[in-house]
């Protein structure tokens, strides 16, 4: 029996939806013991108690995390705002540039750091002096201002000549939301059950905005304090504050930490947040079945097309000989593609912008928004037209269009670009990975489905499966904590399939992931493809699905990830062969020769793959990290023949192109 975690929450109204449900209906563990014992304090006090070990979990200001990178953060929950937040404000009688001193009203480190970031960006240097909680506003006079946070700020609008909402300022500066606080825990304390309970509490709390607002109102009036009406508070809880830290909030989070660092306001070097990972239920269920396993029996079964269980896949990954795996995969490939044909496509990879907010550790392509003027680019139509024309001239049929998460590019920009492409070129658009779709959806405050619909109407044909890396949050949290989660990624693909779009899926290995991570990745792709195929059976072939799977090794050169994991061709071939066996419902497997070289590509064709990928006319993201292979169509055909197959050109749908067109 475990003792409950001591949890310290913030008394401010905006924290109520996160912890009041814990008080009302305390979550219990399997033995019926409470998971948490709850206490309340001011934000800075919460952080102090957590640091001092006086509690195990606390709702802490984001900035306090910078001094405690060992803390573990509960994923996908926090306190954030997209624009005006109402409860982090600077009030004064003179305009901000004339302010000489700002009283910090018991303020949290986060709000102070945010204030200093905004001031420094504008070149302002007023004196900052601490003031006790509740006293800030009373010190505003002449050129002296106050930073007021929390509930006290509700009463301020209209009282001073100048009222600056820092959430709104941040949005104006960066185009991104601001994350103020999240649940952090001392390392090793959180279990799955705790994370799930905190998520459940949040979901319940969000649904209770009105009752909570009413109770808050009543409390204030009972204490003889001024109060707004219930609807005001309910609106604050329901609309102003966002309690889900999805990838958009995480983009804001990394921007905040990175920007303030670039301004030398703190010295927490590498931007990183350690999120705790949560297991997907489907995976937990798949893990259950157990039986004694034998490599050859499993391989025989898999080669014959029988489905592998998760634990069987893991077993094969760890135990099977590479050639034996490859041999079984080759048989499987022959059964799926008996024609002895290996396809390839002529397309061009165009990276339309390199400006990106996500700052993934493994990426050496992006330029953060703060340096966009120096190093960033967004391709103009002239540049794109040139590239597209060249592609057509080389017999290309498709553009693979991907880029960074650039807040300057709105949905209309993409729609316009796609329409223009369709009007002027006869190229298919294999465009925008789920990561970009999620970014655009948040930027426009639309659903993923809406964004996909509009882009599709504008000319997008299919979706590439980039940004998947390893679809397991334990790995993602380590290498790209600010990018979309596994669930978010899969959801985009689900929506795209529902809308009738075909998509591909990918994996990048070499991030020190385990066999388990690798197989869970394959497992979740297979499960989603099952859904898609069921939909097609039930509702018709116009629904989408995954067409192909592509795996390649992580290229560490020039990135911030100083990993030395095994990214050898040997491992590549193992993963690829295993993928052919495990992904029994994804028809095509593409070789990734640009990262491995055509020689290994040939071998890969004999170990499960049936597609040689693309004549890479351009591939920035990979080539920046040191892959420099280039092949012409003739060379590709030569390598395909060397492996004993006949080459054939295809389009994205994996339809063969007529011979005459070649």
């Amino acid at each position: 029996m475990a003792t409950p975690l001591r949890l310290c929450a913030v008394t401010f109204l905006n924290a109520w939806p996160l912890y009041q449900p814990l008080l009302e209906r305390p979550p219990l563990d399997e033995d019926g013991e409470p998971l948490f014992s709850v206490e309340e304090a001011l934000p800075s006090e919460c952080a102090r108690r957590l640091a001092a070990g006086e509690c195990d979990v606390a709702l802490v200001p984001v900035a306090s995390y910078l001094e405690h990178p060992e803390w573990e953060v509960v994923p996908e929950v926090g306190i954030a705002a997209r624009g005006a937040v109402q409860t982090v404000v600077v009030v004064s009688e003179v305009p901000l540039p004339e302010v000489t001193r700002i009283h910090l009203d018991a303020a949290s480190r986060s709000s102070v750091l945010l204030l200093r970031t905004l001031l420094t960006t504008e070149g302002l240097e007023p004196e900052l002096v601490p003031a006790p909680h509740g006293q800030g506003a009373s010190r505003v006079r002449g050129t002296e201002a106050a930073l007021v946070i929390g509930d006290a700020a509700f009463e301020l609008p209209g009282r001073f000549a100048h009222h600056i909402d820092l959430g709104a300022r941040w949005l104006a500066l960066t185009g991104l939301p601001m994350v103020f606080a999240f649940w952090a825990a001392r390392p090793g304390r959180l279990t799955e059950a705790h994370v799930r309970a905190l998520h459940a509490a949040r979901d319940r709390g969000i649904g209770q905005a009105e009752p909570l607002a009413r109770r808050y109102c009543e409390q204030r009036l009972a204490a003889g304090l001024p109060a707004q009406d219930e609807a005001f508070y309910a609106n604050y809880l329901r609309r102003t504050i966002r309690y889900r830290l999805d990838s958009w909030e995480r983009e804001g989070l990394v921007e905040y930490i990175a920007r303030s660092h670039e301004l030398h306001l703190h010295d927490a070097g590498d931007v990183h947040v350690r999120f705790a990972a949560r297991e997907h239920e489907g995976v937990a269920a798949a893990r259950r079945a157990r039986a004694p396993l034998r490599v050859d029996a499993l391989l025989q079964r898999a080669a014959a097309g029988e489905r592998l269980h998760l634990h069987e896949g893991i077993f094969l990954y760890e135990q099977a000989d590479t050639l034996a795996l490859g041999h079984a995969a080759d048989q499987r490939r022959a059964a799926l593609h008996p024609e002895g044909v290996v396809t390839y496509i002529i397309d061009r990879n165009v990276n339309y912008t390199n400006v990106c907010t996500a700052r993934c550790k493994f990426c050496n392509f992006y330029v953060p928004p703060t340096r966009k003027l120096q190093e960033g680019y967004v391709h103009s139509k002239e540049v794109l037209a040139q590239k597209f024309r060249e592609t057509e001239a080389l017999g290309g049929v498709q553009i693979l269009l991907q880029g960074g998460l650039n807040p300057d590019l709105r949905l209309e920009w993409y729609e316009d670009l796609f329409r223009w492409t369709k009007q002027n070129f006869s190229l298919r658009l294999h465009a925008l990975s789920p990561t970009e779709i999620i970014h655009i959806a948040h930027l426009e405050d639309l659903s993923v489905a809406q964004v996909l619909q509009r882009l599709r109407a504008a000319g997008m044909d299919s979706l590439p499966g980039g940004g998947a890396e390893i679809l397991h949050d334990e790995v993602r949290n380590r290498i790209s904590p600010f990018k979309n989660t596994t669930d978010e990624w899969l959801e985009v693909m689900r929506q795209a399939h529902v809308l009738g779009m075909k998509t591909t899926c990918t994996m990048v290995f070499g991030f020190q992931e385990t066999a388990e991570h690798t197989l869970v990745h394959l497992h979740r792709l297979r499960a989603l493809q099952d859904e898609a195929l069921a939909r097609r059976r039930a509702h018709g072939e116009h629904h989408g699905q995954f067409t192909a799977f592509i795996v390649w090794p992580f290229q560490a050169e020039g990135t911030r990830l100083k990993l030395r994991d095994d990214t050898s061709p040997w491992r590549y071939l193992r993963v690829q062969a295993l993928a052919r066996l495990y992904l029994d419902n994804i028809p095509n497997l593409q070789v990734s020769w640009p990262t491995l070289g055509p020689e290994i590509g040939e071998v890969a064709l004999r170990m499960g793959a049936n597609d040689f990928g693309s004549v890479m006319i351009e591939e920035n993201v990979v080539s920046q990290a040191g892959a420099h292979f280039m092949l012409t169509a003739e060379q590709i055909e030569h390598h395909i023949r060397a492996a004993g197959f006949s080459p054939r050109r295809r389009n994205m749908q994996y339809d063969w192109l007529p011979e005459a067109a070649q």
Binding site: L323, H327, R564, D565, W570, I600, G601, E602, R606, A642
Partner: protein
């Protein structure tokens, strides 16, 4: 041939291999043509593991090419300059040769590999002295020097028998013969690509003589020029016959033709599949030659890694110590660090063994963490070992 008769035939060949019977010419050609590449690889791997278990050998050596002046004019050669005085032609002085070793005096080099052009404009003593100056500096170092083509040339040029020339070189410090110059034995091919150097018979005779004197040697095959698959198998069989007679070959080294900067550069490079198949067929045909070596400089590190499952048990290429590598700051495909090589071997589930020229073991990987290999991804896939846990960052 139909798929069914093919796989029946493959099983017959596999049975022969398992029974230790030598394969026939037709078997070799069949293995080259059999569509199931991995089955051929797996069979070669069986032989390789029977002979060497999970060991993959490497040694630390360096090359000296004392001159690139050559009287021959091989079509595939990008090295030779025909006349002294031609642009880029060079002939080292003895001091320069000595200097090559002095440069590396802090490295644990155990072998120097010396190969030259056929330069008749220098006295015989220049060749013997080349060995002598190196031995003076490092008496313990092994000199693997002069291909059979060079020995044949010396014999003709300086009026000696093979045995005499070899004897004088041994006296000067020669330790063994490299396997170069064999190219493809078939006359048809030799006439096309290397007509003015030692014939097949002469090449074999030099090695026969050397073996009789107690010298060890290697043998090679240049593949990917104008030869047929039949001619490759024939080449292997001639090597096998001499090995039956003398037992003096240590290692068979298939050499992939490189089309850069020579007169055959219209030809494509041998493909990855061709290289792997050649290693595998070599392993299967040459049951009596202990080692099969891949030159990763020729086929690339990636293919070399995979080749370890296609019969190869020895990886060769310039291996340098970390220090020098880091000073140079370059990740050229010409140079590999020792840990880099061990890592590559470990990743393929094998155990690295550093050897000297005569395959005496100098160091053996015990799977312990090595500087520069942060993740002991080591040996997770070998059937010979248990998985080593990854340390997660």
């Amino acid at each position: 041939m139909s798929p069914a008769t093919d796989s029946a035939r493959f099983r017959t060949v596999a049975d022969k291999v398992r029974a230790g019977e030598p394969l026939a010419f037709d078997d070799g050609v069949f293995l080259y043509r059999y569509p199931d590449l991995l089955a051929v690889g797996a069979l070669a791997n069986e032989v390789r593991e029977r002979l060497h278990g999970d060991r993959t050998y490497f040694n630390i050596n360096f090359h000296i090419n004392p001159t690139n002046v050559c009287e021959a004019d091989c079509q595939f050669c990008s090295f030779a300059r025909l006349q002294p005085g031609m642009p880029q032609a060079y002939t080292m002085s003895l001091d320069e040769i000595r200097g090559k070793l002095v440069e590396r005096k802090d490295q644990p080099v155990t072998e120097i590999h010396i190969v030259s052009g056929l330069h008749g404009g220098v006295p015989w003593s220049w060749y013997t002295d080349t060995l002598r100056v190196l031995k003076e500096l490092r008496p313990d170092i092994h000199l693997k020097a002069f291909t059979a083509v060079e020995i044949h040339f010396f014999a003709e040029k300086y009026g000696k028998s093979y045995a005499q020339a070899l004897r004088e070189l041994v006296d000067a410090g020669l330790g063994s013969l490299p396997g170069g110059g064999a190219e493809i034995f078939a006359d048809r091919v030799r006439r096309k690509i290397c007509r003015d150097k030692a014939t097949a018979e002469q090449w074999l005779e030099v090695h026969r003589t050397a073996h009789r004197m107690g010298l060890r040697s290697n043998c090679t095959m240049l593949y990917g020029t104008v030869e047929t698959l039949e001619e490759r198998v024939d080449h292997m069989l001639r090597l096998r016959a001499l090995q039956d007679e003398t037992g003096g070959f240590q290692t068979f080294i298939p050499l992939a033709f490189h089309p850069d900067g020579n007169r055959l550069d219209k030809l494509p490079r041998p493909t990855g599949v061709d290289s792997l198949r050649t290693y595998a067929v070599g392993r299967l045909m040459l049951h009596n030659i202990p080692h099969i070596k891949a030159y990763w400089i020729m086929i690339g590190l990636d293919t070399a890694q995979i080749a370890q499952s296609f019969g190869v048990d020895d990886l060769d290429g310039t291996v340098q110590e970390e220090k020098i590598y880091h000073m140079a700051g370059a990740d050229t495909p010409q140079v590999m660090t020792r840990t880099g090589l061990i890592r590559l071997i470990r990743e393929a589930g094998r155990r690295a063994v550093e050897r000297d020229t005569l395959y005496e073991v100098r160091w053996e990987d015990d799977g312990r963490p090595l500087p520069g290999i942060r993740v002991e991804a080591s040996v997770p896939y070998s059937r010979h070992r248990k998985r080593v846990e990854l340390s997660v960052l």
